[in-house]
Symmetry: C2
Subunit: 435 residues, 2 copies
Amino acid sequence: MKVVEFRYLGGNEVPANWRGILSNVAYRYGGELLNTSSIEVKSFNRLERKDTYNVIGIMKGEIEPDRYIVIGNHRDAWSLGSVDPTSGTATMLEITRVLGEMYKNGFRPRRSLMFCSWGAEEYGLIGSIEYIQEYVKVLGARIVSYMNLDIAVNGAYYVNIKSSPVLFDAIVKAAKMVPSAYDPDGQTVYDKWMKVHRNDITNEPKIAFGLGSASDYFGFDQIVGSSNYDATYTFNRAEHKNLSSYALYHTSYEVFSLVKKFIDPDFLAHQSMGQLTGVLALILSESPILPLNISRYAFTLKEIVNSLNTSNPNDLDPLRDAINEFSQVANEFVERSKSMDIENPYEIRLYNDQLLQLERAFLNPLGQGPNDSDMKHIIYAPSKTSTYATLGFPGITDAIVNGIRTEIVNQIAIATFFIRGASSTLKEFDKFIAT
Amino acid sequence: MKVVEFRYLGGNEVPANWRGILSNVAYRYGGELLNTSSIEVKSFNRLERKDTYNVIGIMKGEIEPDRYIVIGNHRDAWSLGSVDPTSGTATMLEITRVLGEMYKNGFRPRRSLMFCSWGAEEYGLIGSIEYIQEYVKVLGARIVSYMNLDIAVNGAYYVNIKSSPVLFDAIVKAAKMVPSAYDPDGQTVYDKWMKVHRNDITNEPKIAFGLGSASDYFGFDQIVGSSNYDATYTFNRAEHKNLSSYALYHTSYEVFSLVKKFIDPDFLAHQSMGQLTGVLALILSESPILPLNISRYAFTLKEIVNSLNTSNPNDLDPLRDAINEFSQVANEFVERSKSMDIENPYEIRLYNDQLLQLERAFLNPLGQGPNDSDMKHIIYAPSKTSTYATLGFPGITDAIVNGIRTEIVNQIAIATFFIRGASSTLKEFDKFIAT
């Protein structure tokens, strides 16, 4: 496009100090093209075969080597990628450096810590999905939690988190131990949440439940069934409501100076992200009883089902009943932990297995049908009508959009079946059968 | 059919002392109808809804209550069912009676023992499949072995066993402890095998690997993925090669006197079956290290792949390579057990989990496709071209029958994928990635 054609841009004029040297045009940004102008874009691509690599490191657990806490981040970028994914890579490498120092000083994790640097995320999550598909039997049986870094830092205002509901309390615990970047001494990531990112009804930090399909957590959510986490130190989103991401996302301007000059000049947000993710990993790897709070799932399920709008509200009754039962069973499960012999490894292990397997209980092995068999999580998964985001009960949501009642009722039956199944996994081992 | 029409039967004449009182006909059995006679059969059925029940009892394990050894048997019969299934019911009830006595005397099993009396097996395995589908998440994570009784006794010559390869050694161990019915004192079920049911090449008892779809083990094989067993005390099958089952199978003549007069007059075969199954259950429930021999699977896989006839034998190379790797990994796994700290519950538990999960590693969550998604076991399952029996690698077998090379290669790729996955589950926890 020639400069003279600036005049065809229909957006607002830029601020005075942004104007260039041409005097015969008004400098504008964005907007529609004026008149019926069109732009011809020529693309000179060629198809090439390129190899890509996942780089995986494991620090073997001393007591439970067959339970994995995984931190992962992709390594490929659309262009230079100083934010996406290098803010994540820098953060993950710093975590491995610190843990490596601890290891040299004698530290051995209780559970195994796994670090994954993925290839080809931008080309369809290829690195992580191939790895997961190849080792699904190993990973499905053993992973407690996958903690994703990707765009670890695109601002320095507060930490934005998406996770499984069961991780809520462990995340809050970690956030209380980590300083908030560029804030007064003693203010933590948690404190900042309570100031600028608080749920006013519960008076708790906002953590979004359900992750979606936008990064390497996807396969862990949908195929492995672990309880996962994704975090980004971000800008003030309330002030920039129209920005879906940071301004130079996926462009060639993702260079070091972007981060150094504009996003995180002293790298304090990077530091906090490393601390938050590292501390959370250690909370998950070192607690003899896995710090997963299943009651959070019960609470969230009730919220989700209340948000569903079926034209025949009674159609949801079986699902509501199942969720009520789940809620009661979850309470009994938590109660049981109080009389546990925490010196008995067998008791610890079997209780932890129930905690670990809860998220797996929400996986439908057949997925959302023969063409979407990888979308296995019945509560949190992209749906056909919303492929990027994550809605509660995607099958039901799709059916409601389609408006066919038999399909709605069928999807409610599937969800009810899996919630009931999840309840049975939490019951006493000789009393799991419904009465 | 009127008696006079005996003359239209084309079979052989019955022995002299079987003849009836009519003098104007030759008594015959079986054969084709002579000339072009036809028979009109009128059937007076009506569709009725009937409830059926599974009756489940659990003796909770003291140390590992979340690991189940399951004994099951159906309760419904086509008619009176003194053999199918009551020989199994009598055997299972005797096992529960004995274990109940032991319990009263203080016995507590290490793992949980579960007893299942299934309804509606004859109508399509309804009782067991419904139970399995409802509790698949619980059962899939916890069952070590399902031991099926059904036709427990239809003869008193030797015990015929079908099982997963990994149970071979535990079965042999149990068989050495149980007397062979109607044989001289001191002769065991194992001794009888070595006389009349021996594999001459290996000089070991014949145990058929793979169970099929003919009884309630089906869902445990295909959906749960436990390592299963089915046993029948049977007649001399070498002498009666033309009999696919006992003569009065599924008829109204399955009455008590059939068993008492002809099959097992002193109920010694029933007794041996109860002892064999009960002892095997205790071997499986009480051994700290699960007595599953995975090397048997490696050996068997080689046998199966050698029995496959592809027109392009090299097509099988990837599968052979995967099986060779599996074999080597299995050896290393067994080797590892020798340096295990068997006082350490965590070590026991994680090693046992690897043993337990091996059979699960052979389950393809998608089964044999959208219409056969319940046929999940890639090694032993009924195939489309043989629905009742169990062949090795049913997907490959079907593809060979169809004769389309791309389909054959595709099925070999699927099998190879799952064998490789199974190998990764057996490796060291920080070295499961292929190099």
